[in-house]
């Protein structure tokens, strides 16, 4: 996994609540058996017109969002299905972090597994970001996210702190493989299995 320590980039403002994973990556694109190839289909139904041209009104297609690497969105981002194709698509598109007032549980975990940092700020702070981005116009709005310091900041003085579980923070900072960590517990797992198997056989 690609580590996440500190990142500066332009934001894309997606001022919508309850953005579900069916919107992030519609089901017709879930048929690939690889982890890649999902970026072009990100937000497909919103992003393209019926004839395949980019939808000019869609937030990510605006000049202000060109080259954006940080997505700022409304509450309950990533609700719905467990498809990890959603963070894969977001990552492949170029996003390194998502800032929102809240995330759906499974989506939040899936992001962390893929080095895509989910940042929870308060609704007031996120709305403040929307206003600042709007004011910046086509020039775009830059944000720095520092995972080590758990801080979001911008040159115009915006600053906010965020919380993240220490375990997730360490995994992201170091780009650790969770499977490798768990396999170190081999002795504990084997001991647990011995007891469980006995119980299920009815001999415990």
């Amino acid at each position: 996994m690609q580590p996440f320590v500190r990142h500066t980039g332009r934001i894309a403002a997606l001022q919508r609540a309850n953005v579900d994973t069916d919107q992030i990556i519609p089901k017709q694109f879930l048929k690939r058996v690889e982890r890649t190839g999902f970026g072009p289909s990100l937000f497909y139904d919103w992003r393209y017109l019926g004839d395949g041209r980019p939808h000019p009104a869609f937030e990510l297609n605006r000049p202000s969002a060109r080259g954006a690497t940080i997505l700022v969105a409304g509450p309950n981002f990533g609700c719905g299905s467990s498809r990890e194709h959603a963070p894969w698509a977001l990552g492949e598109y170029g996003f390194r972090a998502i800032v929102a007032p809240s995330f759906a549980d499974i989506f939040y975990g899936n992001c962390c597994q893929n080095g895509l940092l989910p940042v929870v700020l308060s609704e007031t702070e996120v709305n403040d970001l929307f206003r600042r981005a709007e004011a910046a116009g086509d020039a775009g709005y830059q944000l720095t996210i520092d995972l080590e310091a758990q801080r979001v900041s911008a040159p115009d003085g915006f600053t906010a702190r965020f919380d993240i579980e220490p375990y997730r923070r360490d995994m992201l900072l170091q780009g650790l493989d969770e499977i490798g960590l768990t396999l170190r517990e081999e002795a504990n797992i084997t001991e647990f299995e011995r007891r469980l198997d006995a119980l299920e056989r009815g001999s415990a």
Binding site: K31, E34, N76, S82, E84, A104, I179, N188, I189
Partner: protein, 474 residues
């Protein structure tokens, strides 16, 4: 000992390694696998030279993009066919049991786990699918995971989880005729919102839950995820044991007796505390129907489409306006009477035998309106076989419903069962997101009885009116 909830008992029994403040390493009793969220996980194992740690605790099936039409034909879509073939290859290579298209056990993953007797009380069950919450109906802790976690469970039979908070949802009283499990859970989501239970595991309690069949409890637990919950659970009781006894993979003989004895101790202890509590009077509920593009956008069938102008915040107004535009609805419109083009009965929410019995009861002796295309998609081959034994297929066919082969079908439209742009559908599935059933398709979620009533009348109606006329006639 301090009194504990059902959730706490199941959680505590699965901790492989206690972790202080951090997430726990939990043992997974049962891992269910389907074709869409698993290929990249098996690939990861192969790349790392790892094996499936406990193949016998892993069960796979194909459901999401299989055709519900003629099974003698090959899968028409090449990428779908590749995904199905990839799962077969992976199952063979890693020694995992697969219920493939030819197997009599094939079906939607959340339908076959219970009917095989694989999903049992006290277990931790995971699957790369958010509706894994279904299996919580047995008093298991069952939740959806992402593909990276699927790979983790395949390799280690464990999952790393932070401890969620607990929420009791108590349905007091008994619902009236025409109001069932789907209405209970839709009413809950309408009340607390689609993020109302985020970070929580719900335990459903109360007289209305006790009175439900296992199928009804599964419907309720299934949609816990639509309220944002990590999982939903119901403490096991005689209904649970009666459902499980004698099933293919359920324990038998002395092991069964010992298991039931263990399962009886899972019930939440008197005096145990939940982090949050919600009480809903089931006797007060009417049939529920969604009008918007999120399961929280739900109201009574007797209700009206809300007015965005009355929304509390600008953001809410924006989202209501967007939803109404997508759904082609105007504020203040009465839901009853709204014409529908399609009706879908099926999915892991309402594709079980009880659901089909409920639907057939309303369909019996009636005709689907000439303006409507209606289909019934059983949740599994077993459900289909039982329904055919009971003659339900005849009732549906005589009424003008298509009787199809099992799969997810129009719940998410990964196969050819999709809505056209602007088509309005009365659906027994679980999600009414934009484009979920086909780009531009408009979904209204409701119970099987309500969906059949809509098919027959060609518009959304209150099924209680139909039931009333039955009572008068008979």
């Amino acid at each position: 000992m301090t009194p504990r909830t059902l959730f706490e008992k199941v959680w505590d029994a699965h901790v492989v390694k206690p972790s202080g403040d951090g997430p726990a390493l939990l043992y997974v009793d049962l891992h269910l696998v389907h074709e869409v969220t698993s290929p990249q996980a098996f690939d990861g194992l192969r790349l790392a030279g790892r094996r499936v740690r406990r193949p016998e605790r892993t069960t796979a099936t194909v459901d999401h993009n299989v055709s519900t039409g003629d099974r003698a034909l090959p899968i028409a879509d090449a990428t779908s066919a590749t995904q199905v073939a990839t799962l077969s290859r992976n199952a063979r290579e890693f020694g995992v049991e697969l219920f493939d298209l030819d197997s009599p056990g094939q079906g939607i993953v959340h339908v076959i786990g219970p009917e095989l007797g694989l999903s049992r009380p006290g277990m931790i069950i995971v699957c790369g699918d958010s509706h894994t919450s279904t299996h919580g109906a047995f008093g298991a802790l069952a939740f959806g995971i992402g593909t990276s976690e699927v790979e983790h469970v395949l390799a280690t039979q464990c999952i790393v989880q932070s401890r969620p908070r607990t929420m009791e949802v108590r349905f007091e009283g008994l619902p009236g005729a025409g109001v069932g499990a789907k209405d209970l859970v839709l009413a809950l989501i309408a009340r607390i919102g689609t993020a109302g239970a985020t970070g929580h595991v719900i335990e459903y309690t109360g007289a209305a839950i006790r009175a439900l069949s296992m199928e009804g409890r599964m419907t309720v637990c299934n949609m816990s995820i639509e309220a944002g919950a990590r999982a939903g659970m119901v403490a096991p009781d005689e209904t649970t044991f009666a459902y499980l006894e004698g099933r293919d993979r359920a324990p038998a003989g002395d092991a069964w007796t010992a298991a039931v004895c263990r399962w009886r101790s899972l019930d939440t202890d008197p005096g145990a505390r939940y982090d949050r509590e919600i009480v809903i009077d089931a006797a007060d509920l009417s049939p529920q129907v969604t009008w918007g593009t999120s399961p929280g956008m739900t109201t009574d069938i007797t209700g009206r489409v809300p007015d965005p102008a009355a929304a509390a915040t600008a953001a809410e107004r924006e989202s209501l306006t967007r939803a109404l535009e997508y759904m082609g609805l105007r504020a203040g419109t009465q839901l009853e009477g709204l014409a529908v083009d399609r009706v879908f009965i099926g999915s892991c929410t309402n594709g079980r035998i009880e659901d089909l019995r409920e639907a057939a009861e309303v369909a019996r002796g009636r005709r689907v309106a000439s303006t409507v295309r209606a289909m019934v998609v059983p949740g599994s081959k077993r459900v289909k076989a039982v329904a055919e034994r009971e003659g339900l297929d005849r009732i549906f066919a005589d009424a003008g419903f298509e009787w199809r082969n099992p799969g997810c079908s129009m719940c998410l439209g990964m196969n050819e069962d999709i809505l056209g742009p602007g088509e309005r559908c009365a659906s027994t599935s679980n999600r009414n997101f934009e484009g979920r059933q086909g780009r531009g398709g408009r979904t209204h979620l409701m119970s099987p009885a309500m969906a059949v009533a809509a098919a027959v009348e060609g518009r959304l109606v209150d099924v209680r009116q139909l039931l009333k006329s039955v009572a008068i006639l008979s």
